[in-house]
């Protein structure tokens, strides 16, 4: 709630920009529907989504505040950090102060320490004749994607103005803009500060932005593989535990084979051989992580099988499906969830390790592991590049472990009381 208000305050510019872009897009939809549909990509959808979310969520929270009491948790480290992660991943475009790939001027902005800021001067062209909706749409989209930095802009350590010219100091170079020329070509100019919260990397890209986008990737990869793990683990676990016999022995042997081998090596092998797209990574992490969940479900369902209420429901003529999902699953669910939360931390860690070894998705998209890896070469000059992703990764894992521990405690209470 509070964070949404903060975003509203800080990024009012972004909100206005995306609102106008959305309006323009709708406008365009009426004039040239094909082009408008063509424009809808993942990135632009992302912006709309976060915009709508920011606007809508406070209202929803306000309207349903009585039903959503679980949101008003006691504030501690784990809850706070998990909330921050979720918000980072959902609202990445709204929070990030600049585009994750924009480099500005490399000589000035590379390897800046955290909390540094640079002067930036934007020269605005005289208003041309982009009355056309299409042109307006494109220019507005550029403004939105680059966070207001479009057209001609210069980044500098310091800016001085005389009555004849503007002097920009860029490291050792000086750049002069003559006022006469300026007035001929441009309408106005703005000087502002560009602030780098966590500094910049070796290409002059803002680390804070990259961190936020990396959060998103880590969380999505984690979720994807957790879903795969849950499906495989639950199905096989029930098959082995409930039906027993030959299926039990065969599946158990398979899981033993998987367990008798260092997991990370297998993952590296597959990702190294089959290329490193998001889908491969998710699939591999999911396919090689189901063993512990399988063991838990197998043991629990094997012991539940001979309990009275299961036998009764069998005699009452319930189908296997009904017995498994209506009767057994709710009882095993707490331990499944605890296991999945702990696995989630594991998966995120493995993914970062993969990116760290250069096998992840670091080339196209910022990930934590890749950032740590690239920072490793600059440890002596720029410790912040790898330190902040390290810190984030560590805090995420800590939060996941803490959360799992807490859930374990709570679920044990329930089972022991009943």
């Amino acid at each position: 709630m509070f964070i949404f208000l903060l975003i509203l305050l800080f990024r009012i510019n972004f909100l206005l920009n995306s609102a106008s872009l959305l309006l323009l897009h709708i406008n365009l939809l009426f004039i040239e529907p094909l082009l408008a549909i063509d424009q809808i990509g993942i990135e632009i959808f992302d912006y709309y989504f976060s915009f709508l979310l920011i606007v809508a969520v406070p209202f929803i929270l306000y309207l349903f505040r009585k039903r959503l009491t679980f949101l008003f948790l006691q504030l501690d480290f784990t809850n706070a950090f998990i909330t921050i992660l979720i918000i980072f991943s959902l609202l990445a475009p709204a929070i990030s102060p600049s585009n994750y790939d924009s480099q500005h001027n490399v000589s000035v902005s590379k390897l800046l320490p955290p909390f540094s800021s640079k002067k930036i001067i934007t020269l605005k062209k005289k208003r041309g004749e982009d009355v056309d909706v299409k042109q307006k749409f494109v220019s507005q989209r550029n403004v939105l994607f680059n966070k207001g930095l479009t057209g001609e802009f210069y980044i500098a350590d310091e800016i001085k103005t005389n009555n004849r010219e503007i002097i920009l100091y860029q490291k050792s170079k000086e750049k002069k803009i003559l006022l006469d020329q300026f007035e001929k070509n441009y309408a106005s100019m703005e000087t502002s500060n560009l602030f780098f919260l966590f500094g910049t990397d070796e290409f002059g890209r803002d680390l804070f932005t990259r961190l936020i986008y990396g959060t998103r990737l880590s969380i999505f990869i984690g979720l994807g593989s957790i879903i795969i793990i849950a499906t495989i683990g639950i199905t096989l676990g029930f098959l082995a535990g409930y039906f027993g016999g030959y299926t039990d022995t065969i599946i158990n042997r398979i899981s033993d084979i998987f367990l008798s081998f260092p997991n990370i090596f297998m993952i590296i092998l597959i990702v190294g051989l089959f290329g490193n797209s998001v889908i491969t990574v998710v699939a591999v992490l999911g396919l090689l992580g189901w063993m512990s969940l399988f063991k838990i479900i197998r043991n629990e369902s094997a012991s539940l099988k001979s309990k009275d209420f299961i036998l009764t429901s069998k005699l009452l003529g319930f189908s296997n499906y009904q017995i498994l999902f209506r009767e057994m699953l709710p009882i095993i669910l707490p331990s499944i969830i605890v296991n999945l939360v702990l696995q989630y931390g594991n998966v995120i860690m493995t993914e970062s390790a993969l990116s760290f070894l250069g096998l992840g998705l670091g080339n196209n998209y910022p990930t934590w592991g890749a950032m740590i890896d690239s920072g490793q070469n600059y440890l002596a000059q720029a410790w912040w590049i790898s330190l902040f992703p390290c810190l984030f990764l560590f805090l995420t894992l800590l939060a996941a472990n803490n959360f799992g521990k807490k859930l374990k405690k709570d679920s044990n209470l329930i089972t022991s009381e009943s």
């Binding site: 081998f261 990370i264 760290f356 330190l387 390290c390 894992l397 800590l398 996941a400 472990n401």
Partner: protein, 328 residues
Amino acid sequence: MQNSALKIILRRIISSLIILFLMISFIFILLRISPGDPTLKFISPELSPEFAEQVKESFGLNGSIFDQYIRFIKNLLIGNFGISYNYRTSVIEVIMEFLPFSIFFSLICFFIQLTLSTFFALFVFKRKGTLLDKLFDKAALIIYSTPQFVLAIILILIFSVSLKWFPSSDLKSINFSELSFFEKLIDYSYHLVLPIVTLSIGGTIVFYKYLRDNFDFISKKSFVVYLRSNGISENEILLKHILPNAAGPIISIAGIELGLLLSGSLITEVIFGLPGIGRLSVNAVLLRDYPLVIGCTFITGTLVILANFIADIIKIKIDKRLVKEILN
């Protein structure tokens, strides 16, 4: 008794061999169906197609996958893993070059892990419920959730970049060949401090946590109360009665941990640039050095299974009741 144990051990060996064989076959098939051709690096388009065919044949890549597999199995039975594409010597030689370091390194780490964790667990258990206990509990969780490479980078940042105490990578100094034997030894250990610390801390914490919880569990049992009521000193109870009883579950975890260490701690070796099996196998995968990949798999698999096996045998030595339960 003796006879049945022997029989069970034999069965265990056979089943591990089957698992190893399945593993290797799986990786063989995985390698063959993966996209990309390892011969492309050694052939330029200007060379004649016959020559390309020759290179393929020398790499054992001609014919269908099934033919290749048959040939591979025949070679395997003689103990021939083939020739590494990259090093141009037999795979066994290459692995033998890297294996001694890995074994030495991981045994040192393993030893440090066990001694340190036992020491800490005993030390903290005696001061149960104090601030120190809680502090260790929190610290264990924090260290447990730090990935190895993050730990390594933070250690490098602190000790080799800002304090400049230890070198950040490699095994030898530049002037290594000029040094005398003892200086060489010192040089080695000087370079190994950071990797050993990185690799040991994680395992130490795991062992510590298990030992500590087991101590708690066992000290509540009635036989401890009985011993205490007979006037046996606390120290003696702890060392002679609680510790051996708590060690049981630790041993199987230690077996898994030793297997992981022996199979090459990939990430530590890559970060610190150490010549171990882990780094060798990562490089083999990246360079598509098929025979070497299979050789590394075989070695790591054997080591893991061996470590678990040894752990089980030690467990039986300690507690004879477990024979049937474990080995079946």
